[in-house]
Symmetry: C2
Subunit: 216 residues, 2 copies
């Protein structure tokens, strides 16, 4: 019994409903008989990456330079690829990551204003031409996302403390990424209900799942 691993990423602003989407994907893969899917996240996914994540999210580092932020995110990603993502795909597992490089284009390229070209240099340095097989972009109005985050009632991290212009720029950068690569991206209207987001997520992966179940 063999299966081909697929690399799926889920992208979106804070409060876009990524958790709902990831749960829908988990159920879909289970129903399709796809074994041992690996759910992971960025920044993070390894002990080293999670340590960098804690430093990145720490509100005490307010005012961190955009360059330092982007390099740290890619440092965590390099370790994630080396220790987790590439080995899992090589073993035939599906890997589903809560955010990946598109988030760096959105947050550091767009939100922080570094621009696509500078992010692309680091992407090439770390990944070569490696990219997800499918990316689900949960597009949400930043105001809707923020109200969902606020209703959770836990403290805000350094990104959640950002203001509307930051999130509007990040959303626009995400949208540009999706428009430039319609083959890889599936856009999900994340202003809608959880049930509707879950339905769109299943639909966005239906073709891959039907082709990715065990052969025998």
């Amino acid at each position: 019994m063999t299966q081909a691993g697929r690399f799926i990423t889920v992208e979106g602003l804070e409060g876009a409903g990524k958790t709902t989407c990831l749960r829908a994907i988990e159920q879909l893969l289970e129903a399709a008989g796809i074994e041992r899917p690996l759910f992971t996240r960025e920044p993070g996914g390894t002990p080293f990456g999670e340590a960098l994540r804690s430093t990145l999210l720490d509100p005490r580092h307010r005012g961190l330079s955009a360059e330092a932020e982007a390099l740290t995110v890619f440092a965590a990603r390099a370790e994630h690829l080396a220790q987790v993502i590439h080995p899992a795909l090589a073993a035939g597992c599906w890997v589903i990551s809560d955010r990946f490089t598109d988030a760096t284009y959105a947050y550091q390229g767009g939100g922080r204003g570094l621009g696509d070209d500078r992010i692309a240099v680091l992407e090439e340095w770390v990944q070569g031409d490696f990219a997800p097989d499918r990316t689900l972009l949960l597009d949400v109005d930043p105001a809707v996302g923020r109200s969902r985050v606020a209703s959770r009632g836990d403290g805000e991290d350094r990104f959640e403390q950002e203001q509307d212009p930051f999130f509007r720029a990040a959303r626009a950068a995400y949208a540009r990424r999706a428009a430039a690569d319609p083959e890889r991206f599936r856009c999900i209207d994340a202003n809608r209900t959880e049930e509707e987001v879950a339905r769109q997520a299943r639909e966005a992966l239906a073709d891959l799942v039907s082709g990715g179940a065990p052969d025998g």
Copy 2:
């Protein structure tokens, strides 16, 4: 009273005698009437950079990928440049850093085998053509350096736990850097006594110091 800031870096393997060298530089600058010199270090030099340093040195992250290590070092460096080095130089201060980018060529480029070309991409991304005005390279036999570190009696960090081939490769990379840029580098024989290292350090900066004292 004005003075032109200079950027001085001190490089070398563990146990090369950087502390002795930095103390000699401090005394030299004081004797020359150079005010408010800023002594700093890499990786580190900012709260964010020091947090990354702790993660990098943590022996629990044994096996960290060379790419993640290099990116993390440059992330700390980007913040160090933005928050500390560039502002201090702009204010006319001398900045003396215990390690800088040559260490990345030595440790990650040489020791970890990433090679000069890949480090050069990140150097350009972070620094453009910014470089130290003078670099003092403390060249030490790795065995001599290690015996000095061992005599300190504190625990070994993740780099100090490396073996001889790593340090020999790092030393060779340092030597190549110095040979390629004799204008910037001054090599100090760090196998000798502390007094002799201090004397060589003073000599290596004499021309800059005589030109860098207050004008009036």
